[in-house]
């Protein structure tokens, strides 16, 4: 900016530049978030909408007492947060250490031949468990 410029004009220009940069950043952030996000489905939503051959993100908590091993596969049920509904998942691949019954999980699944859902290999993630969550109900 020219050295002889009125100081209040200088401040106005700086403020305009700063606000413009902030607006551009915010717009980019909002656009990226909405376009990069992937929809999550609860157990009840998945039962209603899942089509064979498509991959969905199943979100929920691991139903107490449902975890079993069958060969290399891990079998468990993921329960819906609001409804007394759960879906069976057969998963092979890396199992994160925090995985346990009652923990919140995300897993990519496809609808299998029977009523179960097939977890995509190495797609199972467990959200960092809050130490403070109350014991989840089992039904």
């Amino acid at each position: 900016m020219p050295p002889g410029m009125d100081p209040s004009r200088k401040r106005a220009i700086r403020l305009t530049i700063a606000l413009t940069v902030a607006l551009l950043l915010a717009s980019a952030l909002v656009y990226t978030s909405f376009s990069a996000g992937r929809d999550e489905f609860t157990a009840s939503q998945l039962l209603k909408r899942a089509q064979p051959g498509r991959t969905y993100i199943l979100a929920g908590t691991v139903l107490a007492g449902s975890v079993q091993r069958q060969g290399p596969a891990l079998l468990f049920r993921v329960r819906d947060p609001k409804l007394e509904v759960s879906v069976p998942v057969r998963y092979t691949g890396e199992v994160p250490d925090p995985f346990a019954q009652g923990r919140a999980v995300l897993v990519d699944v496809q609808k299998g031949g029977t009523s179960e859902f097939i977890g995509q290999p190495n797609s199972l993630t467990t959200k960092c468990p809050s130490k403070y969550q109350a014991a989840s109900a089992s039904y």
Partner: protein, 742 residues
């Protein structure tokens, strides 16, 4: 004693109410006696909180399972250290820790300011009582740590195996100390705004608390990252998880604050900015606490959290936000700066840019962290966002922060001339550019542009810090003729804030070089191996030498020893284990030992240039048939034994449990005697150690900056042993800038 603890909490709450009233009455009616009484009330709250905490900790140490939280969070088999620390692994115990730390830091702040900022302190005191009272109310009404059961269990549930890690036990007190220390400058800012005393005095009296908060939060974040790297079995140290971001956001704002207050102290500028910033930082500390314990983001529908607790936190955050905005708007005329920014090429301008970038970082992290909730509110659908959503914004902003952290120490206040610019920037720029040029010849480095730039910028920052130390030492030597090490020590001792800050900058630069290298140039693979088999990764050969196994009543451990070689030469041997903790299912007397919680023990060989990291994920499916057979035999036998008369029951059960333990040991040993293939995650990661070393260096710099100056700052005279040592000619004149450095 539980009743004593409960009474103490109720009394503490009543004392908070009294203290709040006394402080406000003293402030309004001008009675310092009432304000002093309020301050002593805070000391009492701290004392009661400490006693309550000790009572609860004794209950944990003595495994007194009549306390509900001891039964749910500890056991007789939990090692003593973890038992003592398990108090804050529970909701109720952690809230009590909050109350204790907040009341202790508040007492310290009020004690240190008892003869200063007399118009501000009563209001600050009142705010601290409101905050203390809030957390005490939670423990009295909603999360009672002294709740007991009339039928206590004979054994507790034990501590989550994932939390049985030294760093994870120290991590919460560090974080809570950071959060509670931040509330001290927050409260004094509110006090300054209410009282209208808007000079820099409230900043001066609380600056050390802000710096201590920054240090504690940073250490807490570092400990969490270290736990993630060595315990969680995924090979990383930062996952952009909401609970991680919850601590990072106030830390970034605190970083901005401790820089921008220098401008207000020196030039009387940025008053509105500083007041707003510390109010935001304090509010984010409460938001972070809410995030971690509410469960709103680990489970979007919060169905596992206590809604009453959530509503209370939301109400407090709302009051803090609206109150902060209202106060700043009310006092905006008084917050006008006394000076103006003279030039964009000045330290003030650099600090301001740095503040803006740090706040932009905070805003990005806040938005993406809460995006699942935002998207649900806007579109009705939950959305999953992971690390890829953060990186496009965080990485470039981090590069800018590093650049500015190198420029800040070497650029002058107010205005800098072209000649000064050349003199100050020549060496660091040469080092940074040379680093980039040299790295051009290292294969593959330039493929990762951001990492490549970070290496150059990191070198620039370290060089600028080295330059400042060098100039300071030379200037001091010119004045005092001290030897270089002595001059260096005294230089730092007399200017702890400045040189401690420089060390922090260097440490952060080194840490970020480590982050850039380990994230961009990491090699990893998953391999399924049997003993004797090997696999190659990043030029290293990993050979599965042999299986290991052990079993006890608390844990089954299946592991492997791997030999790592490169170019035909043995590099290291690592051992990794997978721990299985028993579940509580009584219908599977043997199976429950293989179906409960698990945790990985990482096989780690850490070095200055690279880390070799491995975990095993053994498959217990080959044992399942034998486990099922054993359960089929033992389950009815145990049921039958429990129907026996008491005199025979104990003997029968002991015999059957003995058989069970033999079966478990035999089964476990089959992993060694008849080993089957196991899955391994193998990672070779460069410069991870630089992250930890850089963070330790930054923490050391923070401690130096925090350490109080000596009470008497005696002027130093040149060292002379005899008249013959007296200089024959007068010493060379010391430039003005050099005097400033020493």
């Amino acid at each position: 004693m539980a009743a004593v603890g409960r009474v103490l909490l109720i009394l503490a709450l009543a004392t908070c109410v009294y203290g709040l009233g006394a402080s406000l009455y003293g402030a309004r009616a001008g009675g310092s006696a009432w304000v002093d009484s309020g301050r002593r009330a805070m000391y009492s709250v701290a004392g009661m909180a400490v006693i309550g905490f000790v009572i609860l900790d004794i209950a944990f140490l003595t495994s007194n399972f009549s306390y509900n939280i001891v039964a749910s969070g500890s056991s007789t088999t939990t090692p003593t250290f973890y038992r003592a620390a398990a108090i804050w692994a529970t909701q109720q115990g952690s809230l009590l820790l909050w109350v204790m730390l907040l009341s202790l830091w508040s007492s310290l702040a009020l004690f240190l300011t008892r003869r200063r900022v007399r118009e501000i302190a009563p209001y600050a005191q009142a705010v601290l009582f409101v905050l203390c009272g809030f957390f005490t109310t939670l423990t009295v009404l909603f999360a009672n740590p002294f709740a007991t059961s009339s039928t206590p269990p004979s054994e507790g549930a034990g501590l989550d195996p994932l939390l049985r890690h030294t760093t994870m036990m120290i991590h919460p007190p560090m974080l809570y100390s950071g959060y509670t220390l931040l509330l001290v400058p927050f409260s004094f800012a509110v006090g300054a705004l209410i009282s209208g005393r808007l000079s820099a005095e409230w900043i001066q009296v609380t600056r050390r608390f802000a710096l201590a908060a920054w240090l504690c939060l940073g250490i807490g974040i570092l400990l969490g990252a270290r736990w993630s790297y060595t315990e969680l079995g995924w090979g990383g140290y930062w996952a952009w998880d909401p609970v991680e971001n919850a601590a990072l956001m106030p830390w970034l704002c605190a970083t901005a604050y401790i820089h921008s207050i220098m401008i207000q102290e020196k030039r009387g500028m940025l008053k509105t900015w500083n007041a707003s910033l510390i109010l935001l930082t304090g509010t984010l500390a409460i938001v972070g606490t809410f995030l971690v314990r509410s469960g709103i983001l680990s489970s979007i529908h919060a169905f596992v959290s206590d809604p009453t607790l959530n509503i209370s936190f939301v109400a407090l955050i709302t009051v803090m936000t609206i109150g902060s905005i209202s106060l700043v708007l009310w006092r905006r005329d008084g917050l006008r700066s006394e000076a103006r920014l003279d030039s964009l090429l000045s330290r003030e301008a650099v600090f301001l840019f740095q503040n803006l970038v740090l706040l932009a970082l905070t805003a990005v992290i806040f938005w993406v962290t809460f995006f699942p909730l935002i998207s649900e509110a806007v579109t009705g659908t939950e959305v999953s966002v992971g690390p890829p959503a953060f990186r496009p914004f965080v990485v470039p902003l981090a590069l800018i922060v590093v650049l500015l952290s190198g420029i800040g120490p070497i650029i002058a206040w107010r205005r800098v001339t072209a000649a000064k610019l050349r003199r100050s920037f020549a060496f660091p720029t040469a080092v940074g550019v040379s680093t980039l040029v040299v790295l051009l010849f290292v294969p593959g480095v330039t493929r990762h542009l951001f990492a490549y730039l970070m290496f150059g910028l990191g070198a620039f920052v370290v060089a600028s810090v080295v330059q400042e130390f060098s100039r300071g030492v030379r200037a001091r030597q010119a004045m005092t003729s001290e030897h270089a090490p002595v001059a260096l020590a005294r230089l730092v001792r007399r200017n702890r804030r400045r040189y401690g800050g420089y060390i922090v900058h260097a440490g952060v630069a080194v840490a970020l070089i480590g982050v850039a290298a380990s994230t961009s140039f990491q090699h990893s693979r998953t391999a399924t191996l049997k003993p004797g088999q090997s696999v190659r990764e990043d030029g290293y050969v990993f050979r599965y030498v042999r299986a290991t196994a052990s079993a006890s009543a608390q844990k089954i451990s299946l592991g492997a020893i791997l030999a790592v070689s490169k170019g035909g030469h043995h590099v290291t041997t690592v051992q990794t284990t997978y721990g299985l903790y028993p579940a509580e299912d009584p219908t599977q007397p043997i199976g429950r030992f293989f179906n409960g919680s698990d945790e990985s023990r990482v096989g780690l060989d850490a070095g200055l240039t690279r880390d070799i990291w491995t975990v095993i994920n053994p498959n217990v499916a080959p044992l399942q048939g034998l486990i099922n057979k054993g359960d089929a035999v033992l389950t009815p036998a145990l049921a039958q034994a429990e129907r026996l008369p008491p005199a025979q029951q104990a003997k029968a059960l002991n015999y059957l449990y003995g058989l069970r333990d033999i079966a478990i040991r035999e089964l476990t040993q089959r992993f060694v005697s008849h080993p089957w293939s196991a899955q391994f995650l193998l990672i070779v990661s460069p410069l991870v150690t630089w992250l930890w070393l850089g963070a330790i260096l930054a923490a050391l710099g923070g401690l130096i900056a925090l350490w109080p100056m000596p009470v008497r700052n005696r002027p130093r005279r040149p060292r002379r042993t005899s008249p013959r040592d007296a200089p024959s000619s007068p010493p060379a004149p010391v430039p003005e800038r050099a005097r400033e450095l020493v």
